[in-house]
């Protein structure tokens, strides 16, 4: 997974995405890609994985970090 390693922890790319969501609040995948400099396709794929891992949640068509996600980057 590009954003989560097999131990369920965020990778460096994963941390960048989570930090962007923590710092900017509700964001589109495009906004996360622009903020982090990570390619949009990797952001979309990573967000999908992080939703599955409950680190990110979808609100309407945007993304937000969860409490579990915040704890992992603190």
């Amino acid at each position: 997974m590009p954003c989560i390693n097999p131990e369920g922890k965020p990778t460096e790319t994963g941390k960048k995405v989570l930090q962007a969501l923590r710092d900017n609040g509700l964001c589109s995948a495009e906004k996360v890609a622009e903020t982090t400099g990570v390619a949009l396709f990797r952001v979309r794929s990573g967000l999908r994985d992080m939703i599955e891992a409950e680190l990110v949640e979808m609100v309407a068509d945007k993304y937000d970090i969860t409490e579990k996600g915040i704890k992992l980057i603190e």
Binding site: L40, F41, S45, R48
Partner: protein, 217 residues
């Protein structure tokens, strides 16, 4: 000749929506939809740790920044395993200093290869041939190239095709043989007699005749 094909295979065609996929890659699980809004070059190679493919991967890595400037992502594919792809990419970097910056699909099940018509049994029943699919930002197939196992691809031609397609889209023109950026482009031929008469008098156009006129962009 050996008979190996029992039923016709449907191949993707130009102008059609690219077949969806959900694939395991060296950059995680990727779907075609993840690339929406970007152009994508999906290309296959026969096998990891083989000489021609290694030269091609280095060459694709070298044009990667040029593709990025044009809003194009790269995605490789072969029927090798994920571990093999990772080991090969690491080996290429260790031996040549070239980092492979794009994801590679590990298509062990051949699901993606078959959907894109990348296995040509006359060349190899088990490996993918050297295919290039240029897919636009709306996920329409714009160009398909097939190269045999023995012939490495020409990266400058791939860049040239991307430039030609993007120029065509932006300006409603066509590009002549051997066109390269900066050259004159072909304006669409008129479809009425009046249009043909006006065309040859059009200032700024370089016309051989009414149906073949070029202009600078």
């Amino acid at each position: 000749m050996e008979e190996y094909q029992t039923k016709p295979i449907s191949l993707p065609r130009l102008g059609e929506k690219a077949p969806d996929f959900d694939a395991i890659t060296t950059h995680g699980k990727l779907k075609l939809d993840d690339f929406k809004g970007s152009w994508l070059i999906l290309f296959s190679h026969p096998a990891d740790f083989t000489p021609v493919c290694t030269t091609e991967f280095i060459a694709f890595a070298e044009i990667f920044p040029d593709l990025q400037k044009r809003g194009v992502e790269l995605l490789g594919l072969s029927v090798d395993s994920l571990s093999s792809h990772i080991a090969w990419a690491r080996n290429v970097e260790e031996k040549t200093g070239v980092k492979i910056p794009f994801p590679i699909i590990a298509d062990l099940s051949k699901e993606v290869s078959l959907a894109y018509g990348m296995v040509h049994p006359g060349q190899s029943k088990t490996e993918t041939v050297r295919c290039v699919f240029i897919i636009d930002d709306k996920q329409i197939i714009r160009t398909i190239l097939y190269y045999p196992l023995s012939t490495g691809r020409n990266m400058q031609e791939i860049l040239r095709i991307v430039d030609a397609l993007q120029t065509t889209d932006a300006n409603g023109v066509a590009t002549p043989a051997n066109w390269k950026p900066g050259d004159k482009v072909i304006v669409p031929a008129p479809n009425t007699q009046e249009g043909a008469e006006e065309r040859v008098k059009q200032p700024g156009y370089e016309c051989v005749d009414w149906y073949l006129c070029k202009k600078a962009l």
